[in-house]
């Protein structure tokens, strides 16, 4: 049996080698199909991982709470109408919900940042020290501010990489320097390590952190003391996120005295939910890829079927001879199936090669990240085998069902 399969493969290769152009053209469908799928899946996987990295820059097990404007009877209230989120809310959450490990808050504004004769207009965040921890910010030099800085409303600042690049000379050490934010002098005590783009696509490194209290008392000129732009909390375990989010909602609704039908005056988002939204996008992409893959494999398969039908007709006499000397139906069936498989598998392998090459080129030329996983390659290979078997079956069966006498007489 092994000798039979082996010799049949050799025969198949010889037959295909004799009609190289024809075999090549036949394989084209499979080559293009498999190649395109490999390339696009690699690009898709690369993009997915990039997004996952961005989601990871949010921190670990983070829940965000934003104020949302009240809607009364479906009509949105005027912007900035009411103060809906405060430091007191954040402290209450920490007190009432034990599974929260950290609670932080921030207030945001865009301001002019000046160092000597250089200036930069960028976002300035007044944050609690825990906010820096929750967001997993690390430092390329210096360090964070402390609870004491917070309580004394110290004029200290942490600079993001983009801000450093814009207001300092290359090589100049920012830590220790005095900068001015809205004309208030601040001492730089830390430079943040770069995080890159956020999930929303904004530059996370274009930021200056100052203590929350300093911001509200000395820089921003906030109308209502204690009003915050957002509360960030984190949990120890990822599994607790959903539960924590629900508890937060209950506590907040109670604090804000919202009854029955009244909608929340805040928005809660967990890191997991944001991840899911991104996954949804990549799922759409996957479905589209599947469609492209199916269509091209279908076309490739039909090509194989077509050429095999031609081959069966051309070699009817040979089939007759083989049957005359004792080939059973199954022998003939296997012979043509192997021929179909050879076409599809060789085509598939060439396609895989082209796909990998295309992915590499995409990375080199366009700079997009690509990931070629062995799973993708394996699936592509299996698919080419399946296509060969499926589309080879009809012609092979047709050959196997020939009557030996008719086949021998065929001109």
């Amino acid at each position: 049996m092994l000798a039979f399969v082996w010799l049949t493969v050799i025969t198949a290769l010889r037959v295909l080698g004799r009609n190289r152009l024809r075999a090549g053209l036949t394989m084209l469908g499979i080559i293009i199909g498999v190649g395109a799928v490999i390339a696009m899946v690699s690009i898709g996987e690369g993009a997915k991982q990039a997004v996952q990295k961005q989601i990871a820059t949010m921190g670990t097990n983070v829940i965000m709470i934003w104020p949302s404007y009240m809607t009364i009877g479906g009509v949105r209230g005027a912007q900035g109408g009411a103060v809906t989120l405060t430091v007191a809310d954040a402290l209450e959450l920490k007190k009432r919900i034990p599974i929260l490990s950290e609670t932080g808050w921030l207030i945001r504004s865009t301001m002019q940042i000046v160092n000597g004769n250089r200036n930069w207009n960028g976002p300035v965040h007044g944050v609690s020290p825990s906010y820096v921890t929750i967001r997993d910010w690390s430092f390329s030099s210096g360090g964070s501010f402390t609870q004491t800085d917070m309580e004394s409303a110290a004029r200290v600042a942490l600079l993001g990489q983009t801000v450093v690049e814009n207001i300092f000379e290359p090589g100049e050490e920012p830590v220790g320097a005095i900068i001015r934010i809205k004309n208030v002098p601040f001492r730089v005590i830390g430079v943040l390590s770069p995080k890159g783009q956020s999930v929303q696509g904004s530059d996370q490194d274009d930021v200056v952190f100052i203590p929350f209290t300093t911001a509200e008392r000395k820089v921003f000129g906030t109308l209502f003391l204690g009003s915050v732009g957002g509360v960030f909390v984190s949990t120890e375990r990822t599994e607790d996120l959903v539960d924590a989010a629900e508890q937060i909602r209950q506590v907040m609704r109670a604090r804000h005295r919202l009854q029955g039908e009244q909608p929340d005056d805040f928005t809660i988002r967990t890191q997991v939910e944001i991840g899911k939204v991104q996954e949804g996008t990549s799922e759409t992409l996957t479905v589209m890829l599947m469609i492209i893959a199916s269509v091209s494999l279908l076309v490739g398969g039909i090509g194989i079927m077509n050429i095999l039908l031609v081959s069966v007709t051309e070699r009817t006499r040979e089939i007759g001879i083989r049957m005359a000397v004792g080939a059973k139906r199954f022998h003939i069936l296997i012979q043509f199936l192997i021929e179909a498989l050879t076409l599809s598998v060789v085509g598939g392998c060439i396609g895989i090669l082209f796909g990998v090459l295309a992915a590499r080129l995409t990375t080199v030329i366009a700079g997009w990240p690509t990931i070629i996983s062995s799973d993708t390659v394996a699936v592509a290979f299996v698919f080419s085998v399946v296509v060969g078997l499926f589309f080879g079956l009809y012609p092979a069966n047709k050959a196997a069902r020939l009557n030996p006498i008719d086949a021998l007489r065929y001109e």
Partner: protein, 236 residues
């Protein structure tokens, strides 16, 4: 011992559109192991049809055919293939070698379907080629061989399994006199070694090699007689 071939009232009817062609009309024939039979008759008389049925390539429309005591008429295609592989060797007028495939591989073919190892296939096929005088031509493809040589490859392929029955349908029909003599010499030798040989021919001097002559006319046996046989003449 049972006769090798017992055919009883064999009919073969072809249907072409609305027309019915009765290629065989009640042929009964018995052939013993080791016989050398020549079948003669005019074109269209049904000789090839009969050979195909005897060779299990085809089945009778009506009647019985027993080969080595086995009723062939009811067998399925794969069982017929098995019988052809185990017991029968074919030689055709048009050689019927597989194109672009070496003499050795052509001769190996029946062994290939018997599932022998590649080595056994090669050894037996080489021996068969040597037997028909083609030593040294193993790797020639059909187009690199003369008609006579091609027919010898076909004979090597037929005898490689040591079948009990060798069927040759006008084996010399496409050959010149000299090649024909060579081919007949080989068949004669095989018959002398005990193989049953049935041969279809139009030529009297080819038929003269056989020891029995059956004449077919319009799908029926017209005459069936023993001839003195050339081998006996040569042997005497």
């Amino acid at each position: 011992m049972n006769p090798l071939i017992v055919g009883e009232d064999i009919w073969k009817v072809y249907r072409v559109g609305d027309v019915e062609v009765q290629a065989l009309r009640g042929v009964s024939v018995t052939i013993e192991q080791g016989e050398f039979v020549a079948i003669m008759g005019s074109s269209g008389s049904g000789k090839s049809t009969l050979m195909n049925i005897l060779g299990c390539l085809d089945q009778p429309t009506k009647g019985q055919y027993r080969l080595n005591g086995v009723e062939v008429g009811q067998l399925r295609p794969d069982q017929l293939a098995e019988i052809r592989n185990q017991q029968i060797g074919f030689v055709f007028q048009s050689f019927n070698l597989i194109p672009r495939t070496s003499a050795l591989e052509n001769a190996q073919l029946p062994l290939f379907y018997r599932g022998l190892s590649l080595k056994e296939q090669r050894t037996l096929a080489s021996a068969a080629l040597q037997r028909v005088g083609l030593k040294g031509r193993e790797h020639h493809s059909p187009t690199q061989l003369s008609g006579g040589q091609q027919q010898r490859v076909a004979i090597a392929r037929a005898l490689v399994t040591s079948p009990s029955l060798l069927l040759a349908d006008e084996p010399t029909g496409n050959l010149d006199t000299e090649s024909s003599q060579d081919i007949m010499g080989i068949l004669e030798g095989l018959n002398r070694d005990g193989m049953t040989v049935i041969l279809v021919t139009h030529e009297v001097d080819i038929a003269a090699y056989a020891s029995r002559e059956i004449v077919v006319k319009d799908g029926q046996i017209l005459s069936d007689r023993a001839t003195k046989g050339r081998s006996q003449v040569v042997g005497a």
